[in-house]
Symmetry: C2
Subunit: 219 residues, 2 copies
């Protein structure tokens, strides 16, 4: 099983979880600058958040800051990486080798953060049988033979009209967590995790903010 | 100028904006199934949201649903695409052709949603002078000669320790909106838009939820 003990089981509030990789990045920079200790006040100031929020967020890990000294940088980095599940590599399947799926297969950064795509599935004869980014691509029909192999994570990058069908097949095949890059709100049972990451929704927000600023400038 | 009139200038609440691409995907499926009209109740039921929220979200567009008939599917799709800025193509520069940057250059899906990367910048001699996904890669030093060219959007995919420096240079060079894929909270003036999209933060949330579910199963 790829699920190591260092991936903690506490259910941490999502906003706190999302901030943690930011703390981690910040702490790595601090380490690069030679800092051994750092206070929550300094972290808060540099990151533009409230010091009590920093203390609260970091309290979900097992590391405690000391009065006047603050946090020890090195152990906090180690703890955060382990806490976030970045030190244990989980295997994943990717479904849909279109433009975005292909892009994700090229992103070796994922492995650095604990996710290794071990196989991809599609129906397109142009990609089935090939390897992209070192990952073999199988016909979707072969998934049922490879399911329940212990791989619990599935990345969903299929077209919109296939999203629900493929998601349901993934779950039937033993997938317990779906990283959904499609804009479709897929329906799953309560015991399946769905993480929605719609790049294009973020793009829409950015466009809107930019247009709003441009309009203000013209006034 | 690439900013067309069809990109509306209203400042729409972010949660509503993020849901809109989901409505769009849903409506395209409905159109495929031959539906000409659709009610907010049906949209709400299928997407698992509240009907009043659907009505409110869609009210930011210029399309109004009719009593008993509901929304006309085709005009609502057109309006949403235009409203979200997906019909007008904005040009963008990409900074940092590492693993993720490279992946994004391969993602032609972005263009479909209104974003065209016209040039990328890096300092690595292995990629400078090459093209990836049809996009020419220049040395970062050349950016100052290409800045203030009307390109307002910059995609930030540089290493963590370069994020703030590159972001500041982007802004000096006329970039007005930064799509930040790094986990660094970059500091910018109020008139610059920052859209944070940390894939690895989403990954951390998914890992945490999966571990939590796995732990529950063992109980």
């Amino acid at each position: 099983m790829s699920q190591g003990k260092s991936k903690k089981n506490y259910l941490v509030p999502e906003p706190a979880l999302r901030r943690m990789p930011c703390y981690l990045a910040y702490l790595k920079l601090a380490r690069k600058e030679g800092l051994k200790h750092i206070s929550s006040t300094l972290i808060a100031r540099d990151m533009g958040v409230d010091p009590t929020q920093v203390t609260k967020d970091l309290s979900y890990t097992s590391i405690v800051g000391k009065t006047r000294v603050g946090y020890e940088v090195e152990p906090l980095i180690d703890e955060l990486e382990s806490f976030l599940g970045f030190t244990v590599v989980d295997e994943a399947y990717l479904f849909g080798v279109g433009s975005l799926g292909r892009a994700l297969l090229h992103d070796h950064g994922l492995k650095q953060f604990g996710l290794k795509v071990v196989a991809a599935f599609d129906v397109n004869p142009d990609v089935v049988g090939r390897k992209i980014g070192g990952v073999p691509i199988y016909h979707f029909d072969e998934f049922k033979n490879m399911s329940n192999s212990g791989v619990q994570i599935g990345i969903l990058t299929v077209p919109v009209d296939k999203s629900q069908y493929v998601a349901s097949s993934m779950i039937e095949g033993g997938i317990k967590a779906i990283w959904n890059f499609t804009p479709v709100r897929i329906k799953v049972d309560d015991d399946v995790v769905v993480q929605n990451t719609s790049l294009y929704a973020h793009l829409a927000v950015m466009f809107n903010r930019l247009k709003s600023n441009n309009a203000k400038m013209l006034k």
